[in-house]
Amino acid sequence: MFDTDELVINMGPQHPSTHGVLRVVLKLDGERVVDSDVVIGYLHRGIEKLSENRDWTQIILLTDRMDYVAAATNNLGYCETVEKLMSLEVPRRARYIRTILAELQRIASHCLWLGTHAMDIGAMTVFLYAFRERELILDLFEEYCGARLTYNSMRIGGLPLDISPGWDKKVREFCTIMDEKVDDYEQLLTNNRIWLERTRQVGVISGPEAVAIGLSGPALRGSGVARDLRKDEPYAAYDEFEFDIPLGGAGDTYDRYLVRLEEFRQSVRIVRQALDGLPSGPIIGKVPRLIKPPAGETYHAIEAPKGEIGYFIVSDGKSTNPYRFRVRPPSFCNLQALPRLIKGHLVADVVALIGSLDIVLGEVDR
């Protein structure tokens, strides 16, 4: 078995902590990772190709199936791109509700991340705590659009549904709960010695290097690069709210953890502001019955929970489906940094780092 000093093991595609069907081929020296190769594509469903043969509205529900833990954000990114292509205006109320949904979705996605990340490092209770809160968000979404995972909750030009009466109150209640619970998570983990030892100085990546390798989202901000598309290229209604962008310093797993935990609080803050200032009015703009954007192409990116989700869409102006539909999946680009991050670390850190990048294989493989 130890014919050479190096042992090659296959982590995945069926492995409890690769968050799906990721396969990482590790070349180990003892338990230390010498080299690694990330093999993806096990969940490739050809969503891009499929979308090129669906009409513009049908694609919304395909975007649900990419990052299935943050479906609303995917919908938002797609709808905004098409709106940009068509130069459509979205009513203010719709933009506010979109913001609320996107931020709730961010909290839900971060809950799932926190749970699985903590579970990977062995703190099993945090997993269930985080899922308990995620469940509340899923309930809110269920009340809003009837679905719990794949929401199909946006439309080109606005929203399919207005919020039901009393929904905003429930969201407010949830915000109160969430604020407390984030403190609970922090109590369990933030100053826990074992947690610190497992995450500090693990997978350190400097800011410039993180930019070069294409990290985005909390993984990039953990390295101290202030890049948040909500601030830099405001979409939906983000330019009307006050919120901070948490930044890390060392660029290690612990910083990425802290950034995401602070994002919980900031998201709650945004949701509160949006609820306070929720304007009345229509929820969908003037959209032609047959959606057929003029010929042209555009790239539009928004800040998904996992990073920059960008849509590059080409319309030929003639058919009712996009000529080219391309997603820039944040998980895919973040996962690219994994071999760089795990090099020289131990097998146990591989697990922690996969968790720290917060990938969803449905999005990586599309």
Partner: protein, 168 residues
């Protein structure tokens, strides 16, 4: 009577496992038989009233040293069986001749000891206090050898680490 039964049973086990240790092809099995052999030897020590030594035998030999062997066996897992290589200078015959000589000596001892029955055998074993007496002997009467042994172990430990480490 009970002592005799225990002795013969344990002797058979000890010798049987010892033969298996040297004759088994699979090195891991060999190590396992060595453990069993040591456990039986420990049991023999108990019958001889040396409980402390029996426990040490299990703790140090079976629980420590042989685990080390097992580690090495697992690290040195060969693709080809190690016995295939035939050295022309290999002296299997001499080995058996030497073993035969020792066997002869053994027979001589047996015959010699069988002639005049030893009068002092079978004294009742010491009840309790064994640990204290061993401890006293070890730390008072044989303190210097004890310290030398500890130095030996220290040196061996450092040596083993130096040898086993890949690069210094």
């Amino acid at each position: 009577m009970a002592e005799a039964i225990a002795f013969y049973a344990l002797s058979v086990l000890i010798l049987g496992f010892a033969i298996l240790v040297v004759s088994t092809r699979n090195t891991v099995h060999s190590v396992l038989f060595l453990v069993l052999n040591f456990l039986c030897v420990a049991a023999l020590y108990v019958t001889l009233g040396a409980e402390f030594l029996a426990v040490i035998q299990v703790l140090v030999y079976a629980g420590g040293i042989v685990v080390l062997y097992l580690f090495v066996v697992m690290l040195v897992n060969l693709k080809r069986p190690p016995e295939t290589h035939q050295d022309p200078r290999r002296q299997t015959l001499t080995g058996f001749v030497l073993a035969g000589l020792v066997l002869g000596e053994l027979v001589a001892i047996a015959v010699y000891s069988a002639l005049p029955p030893t009068p002092t055998g079978g004294v009742a074993s010491v009840q309790g206090g064994n640990v204290e007496r061993v401890g006293y002997a070890l730390y008072v009467d044989y303190l210097i050898p004890f310290e030398v042994a500890s130095m030996l172990l220290l040196v061996a430990m450092i040596g083993a680490i130096v040898l086993a480490k890949k690069e210094l």
